[in-house]
Amino acid sequence: MLIFILKRVAGMIPAMFAISILAFTVIQLPPGDYVSTYAAQIAQTGEAVDSAVLANLRERYGLGENVAVQYFKWIGGIARGDFGQSFEWNQPVTELVWGRMGMTALISFLTLITMWAVSLPIGIISAVRQYSVIDYLTTTFAFLATAVPEFLVAIVLLYISTMWFGVSVGGLFSPAFENAPFSLAKVLDFLQHAWIPILVIGLGSTAALTRIMRANLLDELHKPYVEAARAKGLPEGRLVLTYPVRVALNPFISTIGWVLPALISGELIVSTVLNLPTAGPLLLQALKSQDMYLAGAFILLTGGLVLIGTLISDILLAISDPRIRLS
């Protein structure tokens, strides 16, 4: 088991390297650089731009250098824990990123847990009672939830709560708690706000997971080992939960791998709409202004988050399925 985990961790290193190159390439792709965006912004306000100042700026940030050199400067800094300097905010990226990434990780984690907690029982019920009223209801609902874009749900929710209930639901904290130190009241306030983004971000994937669980379980329910277990006299409820559900859970667990990226990219749009203090809106802004070190850090850390999620799902799979553990 330990060897299994070590192998998986070792496998993450080249993946992380590939992600870093990809992240760097992505932020280099648009024409121009931060300085040209900055120059355009100044030009818009009507002021004259001094080209000497611009050249000076380029010099300072090392923007004129060879791309490979830039990459190694960047990645070398990260290895030492230095993500570079944000051009736009004039702050070390590290200071900007961690709080935001923490919120993203927290929201994603909570969403994942909620998704599993909701889709697992619903999936089981709609498989065991296939073609029943419950099955048709959940199926209809699942198709709707998969089809409706998340940002639309966010906007509708915002509208309803503001216009009908007069409650502001944007953000993750009430203004009073925004900068307050950690306390029970703050956690409660957070939960009061967090259910909306969790609901919005998780909706589509929950629906998809329900369908996956249903399909997996339907495959397993008619396998000979289920019949054999029934023939030994197991009560139906216990039979379903201990045998086919155990086996059907495997593909379910491995969905972390694709659910996590979907969650994080969904989070970007939803957070922008709902104005959440997570990584999404800041990343969007950084990409728009070509604040490359900030954007690069976000992409890299998001990639890392997905890798860690996949690792967790691999470990969970190995725990739940002896066939993976022992082969």
Binding site: H222, A231, K232, G233, V247, R323
Partner: protein, 557 residues
């Protein structure tokens, strides 16, 4: 054997509503099962024998339902009608596993892959008896020992996928016996196993039955197995009971036409088919020499792998023109791999396969290039085991049969249509079925279509990989006779791969016996079947259940 009846089935009917019609899977079937006896229920696929067995435990899969009759179980304190118990609830669960236990056909999938063997047996014991976990575990270990699983204590903590098929079926039997049931229902428990393993499992079931005085309801399609273990036999056909008799009476004095036909097709395979005379001077069509196919087992750090799976380990075999060479062996012996390597599905790692084409110089298939292989596919064709998966469900019969013509000849569409309808009538199918899809045909018909596809390009050598294994016994000799006729007509040679000695004996001229990738014995089919020289062949032949109950050790003279 006592005459006390433990189970009375009366006028049992099971229906499966399918769309708007109803399939009567079991119709008005009645029989008795006595304590300590073995009743074999025999029939071909679709005869309702498995459904009958499942009905006794209320395990009929939805939407099927018992629509009439009684299943009366003697509990010692009066009779209980299982039909009235319904499929859920405590009462039926008390019967399942406790009074009546069941073992299934597929040992590979009948045990849960994510629970240990021990867990599954202990669970059964704890369901029905109020004893501690430790005691249950002790009993489970004793049971595993009883079914001769080595190191039973350790085996408890292992998973089913760590066992071979035979071992899994033993574990399954141990689980079924864990609560000392009075009735054991065995639904084709040996069909998926090799003959030698089958012989072991059959004698184990018989032995346990004598020890415990258990009644056994044994479902099978194999008359050989019936002859070996049955006390009484019930024959089923299309959901109805055809005949019920003692095993000797049934084999020696069958009363019904269907029983006679069934026994006839079994016994037909017991004697070799008449063969066309062989030419005096044998001319080889293919000569396999020291063929090797090794799969590396480990990736090999920096260089060569150190361990190989020797799927084919130095095989030499000659196939002469117009000859049928059988390859027989148990699962994992490499017989199927050998057939596929001859068509370069796998690239051999050593040795050569010389092939003499109809015109031109002999070529070595083992090293032939792509273009050479392509022209070879016009002369060497393959017929597969499973007629359900070897035909593309999205292609019509015409498309399927004409496909090799399209790739290997330059016939016009018109010519191909003529050839296909000629082929269809040649293999005994109506010539106008070209625009239909495979799902419209039964297993036997599909195998005929596969054969038509194989002979479409007028090949000279056909590699047939278990072409009759998926077919009911009454269809087997029909398909073999068809292949024989085509051989005489087109001068075909066959490499015929099978695990079934009776089919080999019926159909082949010579036979090679394979074990662990090697040929242990080659010879004339009569000599191999009647006077096998090698110990392995002797075991293999000896393990085949013969359809004659008088050959049983316990048969009255």
């Amino acid at each position: 054997m006592s005459d006390e009846t433990i189970l009375k089935v009366r006028n049992l009917s099971v229906d499966f509503p399918i769309q708007k019609s109803v399939v009567h899977a079991v119709r008005d079937v009645s029989f008795d099962l006595k304590r300590g006896e073995t009743l074999c229920v025999v029939g071909e696929s679709g005869s309702g024998k498995s459904v009958t067995a499942r009905a006794i435990l209320q395990l009929v899969a939805k939407p099927g339902a018992i629509t009439g009759g009684q299943i009366l179980l003697d509990t010692g304190s009066g009779e209980v009608d299982i039909v009235k118990l319904g499929s859920r609830g405590l009462a039926i669960r008390e019967v399942r596993g406790r009074r009546i236990a069941m073992i299934f056909q597929e040992p590979m999938t009948s045990l849960s892959p994510v629970h240990t063997i021990g867990h599954q047996i202990v669970e059964t014991i704890l369901l029905h008896e109020k004893i501690s976990k430790e005691e249950a575990r002790k009993r489970a270990a004793a049971l595993l020992g009883r079914v001769r699983i080595p190191e039973p204590e350790k085996a408890l903590d292992r998973y089913s996928f760590e066992f071979s098929g035979g071992m899994r079926q033993r574990a399954m039997i141990a689980m079924a016996l864990s609560c000392n049931p009075e009735i054991l229902i065995a639904d084709e428990p040996t069909t998926a196993l090799d003959v030698t393993t089958q012989a072991e499992i059959l004698s184990l079931i018989r032995e346990l039955q004598r020890d415990r005085g258990m009644a056994v309801l044994f479902i099978t399609h194999d008359m050989g197995v019936v002859a070996q273990i049955a006390d009484r036999v019930m024959v089923m056909f299309r959901g109805e009971k055809v005949e019920e008799a003692g095993v000797f009476d049934l084999f020696e004095r069958p009363q019904q036409a269907y029983t006679r036909a069934l026994l006839g097709s079994v016994l037909k395979l017991e004697t070799p088919a008449p063969r066309p005379p062989r030419p005096v001077a044998e001319k080889p069509i293919a000569k396999i020499e020291n063929l090797e196919l090794h799969f590396p087992l480990n990736a090999g750090f920096m260089g060569r792998p150190t361990n190989y799976l020797k799927a084919i380990d130095g095989v030499s075999l000659t196939i002469n023109q117009g000859e049928t060479v059988g390859v027989v062996g148990e699962s994992g012996s490499g017989k199927t791999t050998l057939g596929r390597t001859l068509l370069r599905v796998y690239d051999p790692t050593g040795g050569q396969v010389m092939y003499w084409p109809s015109n031109g110089e002999p070529v070595d298939i083992a090293t032939l290039n792509k273009a050479g292989m392509k022209s070879l596919y016009g002369e060497v064709r393959m017929v597969f085991q499973d007629p359900h998966s070897s035909l593309n469900p999205r292609m019509t019969i015409y498309q399927t049969i004409s496909e090799p013509l399209r790739t290997n000849t330059d016939m016009t569409e018109r010519q191909m249509m003529d050839r296909v309808s000629e082929l269809l009538s040649r293999v005994g199918l109506p010539p106008d079925i070209g625009d239909r899809y495979p799902h419209a045909f039964s297993g036997g018909q599909r195998q005929r279509i596969s054969i038509a596809r194989a002979v479409a390009v007028r090949p000279r050598l056909i590699i047939a990989d278990e072409p009759t294994s998926a077919l009911d016994v009454s269809l087997r000799h029909q398909v073999l006779d068809l292949m024989r006729d085509l051989q005489t007509e087109y001068g075909l040679s066959y490499l015929f791969i099978s695990h079934d000695i009776s089919v080999i004996r019926y159909f082949c001229d010579r036979v090679a016996v394979m074990k662990n990738g090697k040929i242990v014995e080659v010879g004339d089919v009569v000599q191999i079947c009647e006077r096998p020289q090698h110990e392995y062949t002797q075991n293999l032949i000896g393990a085949v259940p013969r359809p004659d109950p008088r050959l049983r050790a316990d048969a009255p003279q």
